[in-house]
Subunit: 256 residues, 2 copies
Amino acid sequence: MNARAGQAKAGDEATDAAGAPSSDGGAEALRRLAGQHSSGYRSVGVMAYDIIRDAILSGALLPGQKLRQETLAELIGVSRVPVRSALIQLEADGLVELQDRRGAVVKSVSVEQAREVYDIRTLLELEALRRSMAHMTPERLTRIRELSRAVDAEQEGGGFIDARTEFYAVLYDAERHPVLWETIEQLKLKVGRYVLGWRLVGDEGAEHSHSHEHLIDAVEAGDVDHALAVLREHLESVRDAVLALLETEAQERVGA
Amino acid sequence: MNARAGQAKAGDEATDAAGAPSSDGGAEALRRLAGQHSSGYRSVGVMAYDIIRDAILSGALLPGQKLRQETLAELIGVSRVPVRSALIQLEADGLVELQDRRGAVVKSVSVEQAREVYDIRTLLELEALRRSMAHMTPERLTRIRELSRAVDAEQEGGGFIDARTEFYAVLYDAERHPVLWETIEQLKLKVGRYVLGWRLVGDEGAEHSHSHEHLIDAVEAGDVDHALAVLREHLESVRDAVLALLETEAQERVGA
DNA sequence: CGAGGCGATTCTGTATCCAATATTCATCGA
DNA sequence: TCGATGAATATTGGATACAGAATCGCCTCG
């Protein structure tokens, strides 16, 4: 609720910013992110990538937001060269759109696209789980349980994302199926911001954690059909939440 | 046969080039490609991307080949900046690997990875065909037939690739399912060079065209199950050819 | 009120320079 | 002779400055 209202407000700001900036357009949040990521990077380019990426996924930069290279460079504290590198990568990820000689814009996700993403993810993730269960070991099972608890423990944004990613990496046996895993991750990224926003809804977090438990139980029992059913249900529930969020945003945008 | 032998020879050259360049390492072919692509681009960056991409897909640049920015820039006739842009995009495509401060290398595809790619493609392309057939129209069917003939007509590399891509775009109704289509295309790219090489085998080209006809007939008849079965068989046949090629290459590499 | 032009802004690309790091090669010691 | 060490070299990643091109906004003129 709280989070939803906040996003709607920020969305309006972004719309305004497209015309004439009425707020900072995420500049403050970006500067803060730049501070967090400031050290321990092998190259400035990947740092810029991470910062802008996190800014988009965290909702600091909203769909439609215009990204000017020089502004980003100043905020991050680098020259425009690594910013360009970052933007190119982000375009490949589908998070921004590079219009020819018109700059970069944070891409928006249509309801239809999101539906497609979840349809494909369902196909791929069910397959991933199926294959993973075919080669399950007690060690992996133990790790899965540990990581599931770690996900529940993490509360703040960044840690939660990382923990959840690792959980699924082990659950789907990413090591054995790197291409499948990478494809799934790319699809997740496209709706990343909304999944992150969705988590903030809060109430559904408990339900989410609950279905995780069910899933792991089924995996542990070796009940493939049941595990797949639980996973499918989980994905459909997340999908519905995201689609609802997107539809609400779309309406609010029209209403404004 | 002819093509196979050529590739094996080129492969050895690449292996040598990794140590001390014994041949031009694809420089001549790259220069030729640069000439073909020389005009009509909105930005030099995408031109560089296209040239290097085609060089990799056509086999002029082989897996393991080291790509130096300055050399590429000279061959293409641009500065290092657009080359860097291109390399970043190619890394996102999975065609090259950017090692930190060690330059770019054309990525090689393992047998396992290729198998995964085809497994996932089978999942996704069957789904794409299923959805496409659910909304088939006479107009699309007509276009599919036309494009199929266009594919058979095109013989040389570039035109053939484009024609085939458009054929599948219409067959899978890419316009209605952009995310699914994009995901499939990304996967195709990862084994692009080998599919291109495979086509040159020649004898199997007829068989390939034959299965296309079968597929279209089934689509026209609205026989979903049959169409899916034909498509699956086709994909498995291509997969087997590619895997065989990869295994042969791997053996030859060890043998050398 | 609409069409066209002008200037300002911004992106794209070039050229040059610098710092950091990898690689190569030669030397030294066991 | 062979392996390790360290300097010289090569290459990448990045900064900076500048030129060219395309777009946008605004302004004037018809």
